[in-house]
């Protein structure tokens, strides 16, 4: 059995890794962030079922106020919210790639290893990965417009 000498730091030790290794590290980091976020999200957003005051207090705690139908958001919270959207977009689209490769699509047929010994499974699924990352990037750009240019 391979000994994990670096422990948890092994996730982010990327020296010599291919591009998919970076995606692996980012997928774990964003996944961990999203688990923490979803916990608070479920608890705080549940306040809507108690009263309007409770709902407004929670929004106020999050730096969001609504007056006469106009949103006012704390700029720092707004920026963090956008970073969260980036984390979600990355995790969702990269996760879709992982699901497709996990069930055997897009990894090609087995073949004899040849120099420079880059696994064929990675090379075969790379165009799909690039395609998904372009879509995620496209939604991230729209997000800049939605978050910072019209609000």
């Amino acid at each position: 059995m391979v000994k994990n000498k670096r422990g948890i730091l092994g996730w982010i030790y990327l020296k010599g890794g291919n591009f998919e290794r970076y995606l692996y590290a980012l997928h774990r980091i964003t996944g961990f962030i999203l688990v923490v976020y979803i916990t608070f999200h479920i608890i705080l957003m549940g306040s809507r079922s108690f009263s309007e005051d409770a709902w407004k207090k929670v929004l106020g705690f999050l730096g969001i106020t609504i007056e006469n139908g106009v949103y006012k958001t704390n700029p720092l919270v707004h920026f963090l919210e956008y970073l969260l959207i980036l984390a979600i977009l990355f995790h969702a689209f990269n996760g879709m790639r992982l699901i497709f490769t996990e069930i055997g699509f897009l990894i090609g047929k087995p073949s004899r290893p040849e120099y420079p010994y880059i696994p064929k499974s990675i090379v075969s699924s790379r165009p799909f990965m690039i395609f998904l990352m372009i879509i995620a990037f496209f939604f991230a750009i729209i997000g800049i417009y939605e978050f910072f240019l019209i609000h």
Partner: protein, 119 residues
């Protein structure tokens, strides 16, 4: 149940979350895009809109399914990350129990808030 079944459910939940989550993000945060398409609102956080939305049967069903998929995917993923560490290997059973308890608490709380707001 065999581990492969839980892993398969993790993948399936992830696949389904993809569509729920994108819809949720677009509806809540990409208002000008969704309004242009014709299914969004400019003020998704205003209390009257939140309540009106939450009272519809479609929302309730979608919310409960979304909650189940997200909690399973998130906490199964967290369990996998944690038990891969040296610490996690030593305390695998307590970690699993704590994660199941915590996810169950969030599930019950989420269901409670969904049912309560609908009256």
């Amino acid at each position: 149940m065999r581990k492969i079944v839980f892993w398969g459910m993790h993948l399936l939940a992830g696949f389904l979350i993809f569509f729920f989550l994108l819809w949720h993000i677009f509806y809540m945060h990409y208002q000008s895009l969704t309004k242009a398409i014709g299914f969004g609102t400019h003020y998704p956080l205003i209390f009257s809109e939140v309540v009106a939305r939450a009272k519809t049967a479609g929302f309730k069903i979608a919310y409960v399914l979304f909650l189940i998929f997200v909690l399973y995917h998130a906490f199964y993923g967290l369990k996998n990350i944690l038990i891969e560490t040296e610490f996690g290997k030593k305390f695998e059973i307590p970690i699993k129990i704590l994660i199941i308890l915590f996810a169950t608490f969030l599930f019950i709380y989420g269901i409670f808030t969904t049912l309560k707001i609908g009256g």
